[in-house]
Amino acid sequence: MSATVIQDPKAQEISPTAASGVTPPLMTSVVLAGNPNVGKSLFFNAYTGMYVNVSNFPGTTVDVPKGQIDAKTRLMDTPGIYGLSGMSEEEQVAERAILNGDVVINVVSAISLERDLFLTQQIIDYGKPLIVAVNQMDEAKARQLDVDLGKLEKLLGVPVYPTVAVMNDGLEQVKQGIAKARLGHATPDAPAPDEIRELESNMAHRMKIYGLRRQYVNAIARQVVTDQSQPGSVRQLVSQRIGYALLNPFVAFISMLVILYALYQVIGIWVAGDLVSLTEGKFMLGQNAGAWPGLVPLMQTVIGKVFAPGSFFYIVFGGEFGVLTMSVRYIFGVLFPLVLGFYVYISILEDCGYLPRIAVISDGLLNKIGLNGRAVIPLILGLGCVTMATVSTRVLTSNRERTIASTILAITIPCSAQLGVLIALMAKAGGVKAWLVYCVVLFSTLIILGTILNKLLPGRSSSLILDLPPMRIPNFKNIARKTWVRTVVFLKEAAPLFMLGSLLVAVLQATHMLEAIQNGLGPAIKAVLHLPYETAQVFIMGLVRRDFGAAGLYLMANRLSHAQLLTCLMVITLFVPCFASATVIWKERGIKESTLVLAGSWLIAFGIGALLARVMELLPLLG
């Protein structure tokens, strides 16, 4: 930690070399802070280049990117927040980062100055030295908003710099300005920095202080911003029109269909199909790769030299589900391209402003199952990979919402591997009619499950508050950064769990337990689901990897009736997610909750499967 301490509450420069007689600190830690969507990450990108270290903030699940500005200056990014009130884990992280840092670069937007200055003033009131970057000056100009930065600097008492971060304008000046950071003018009548945090944790005091601060900030904004009230440029008007159109339920519905179809095309066909056949088929397994034998066979040869092929340790390390073979093949051959592709897609939707609007549209519906609009992000991600989506439930505000979302994901959302199986086999189960029955059953299960959880879980879920950023052309650098950070975070989290899961399955296989479980399950499946014994293998292999079980099902499909095949596909969907997502649920949600989710998924899968089988026997819907 740095030793830069500002004793004098009156404005004083905190250049590391300024304090005479005191040894300059080895490192200055600078923290970027600001409201969401003000372009904060562009500053981070510009100052740190690609050398970024993303890790969870100590003791939390919030990711904070860290980098170096130069040899003596560390930079930490923080989640976008509106104030320091500890209302979410992200806010607590941002608050701790700000309080622990030496200097704050507060990024505000010129077009939403009044809103953004609340956080600025709160940081000032907390007694932290800062500089303010007023970003999106070009947007303000286009909207004929005149911002008097000289006056703002005087009123706040801290250096203020104009920037257009997307054009890299003014970023260098802000960087040079870090050394000029100082304490600003606190809100009149607000408590002193050493007692204000304590007082703000009390609701009655908080209301009073927040009221004072809001009034003060609004007064500053009124003096600084002159609104010529022009409607803005054509681009802005178009952006606003599109934004409102997307809030129309009909347009939103159509756009959602288009987006999901594009998702299917991009992720389902190109990534999961073409790209994975390259990474997994060609590179990992050596299929159609000419002289290249494939990484997995190569590793098996090496492992075969250490342990005799067929021996216990060979099966555990190098077998079909071996810790070294299976997890490497799965993590790098399948998951990496899939997760990367999905995150690119989601980051584009997010960056252009589409995702927040979908969150708004779906809020009413999600409220009924105890979630709010924010949950659409994990739910859409679930269509790619439930494991990845479970990790992303961290964006939800309360624990209650995280429980509901991860349960729904585990049980009712089919991941891309399952969708692949469904798409291939639905044709054999009756085509459109089968899809229709499947969708009705799955959707009803989702609604009923969510409603029950919402009723049973104590407390209530938080209401949606979402800032709607203007619709815009996505920024390539932003997308690249977000995608990379998310993918790396996910793989870091998931890779060890995949290895653990494959170890478990490999040991079961090596000890012949896997066969025993399959044989034991056969009669139960016949009695409950009216399906042949062999389908047990489909379900058990589905635990290992969702599309593994499918191979057996392709062979069996012609011997099953339409109703049986549909029952089978329904159960595969609802049945416990793959081992990887099960381990992630266990890690994220704890042992008690994950056990309940897994047991519940068995019960629901077989319960609904049994019901569906019997209903379809009575009503031959699929012919």
Binding site: N367, G373, S463, D467
Partner: protein, 80 residues
């Protein structure tokens, strides 16, 4: 007779409204940080059927869930 304050949930799209009172302290905290405090005005930009309300203040657009809208009392400017 003067117009009485009513909740944001009951307001109509296209109205400019003044914040009269926020009844729930948690909601008030959230609202104040976003710039919505007693006496301030905003424009009701959109209302999603059965869903959130979208308000606009300058260039800032915020979607507020129905639950929050029930705790925000507003009045038409002529009533203030």
């Amino acid at each position: 007779m003067k117009n009485m304050p009513f909740t944001l949930e009951q307001a109509k799209v296209g109205e400019t409204l003044l914040v009269y009172r926020i009844t729930d302290p948690e909601t008030a905290t959230i609202a104040m940080r976003l710039g919505i405090s007693e006496g301030e005005s905003f424009f009701l930009a959109s209302k999603i059927p059965g869903g959130p309300v979208v308000i606009r203040r300058g260039a800032v657009e915020i979607a507020l869930g129905r639950e929050l809208c029930r705790a925000i009392e507003v009045a038409r400017p002529d009533a203030a």
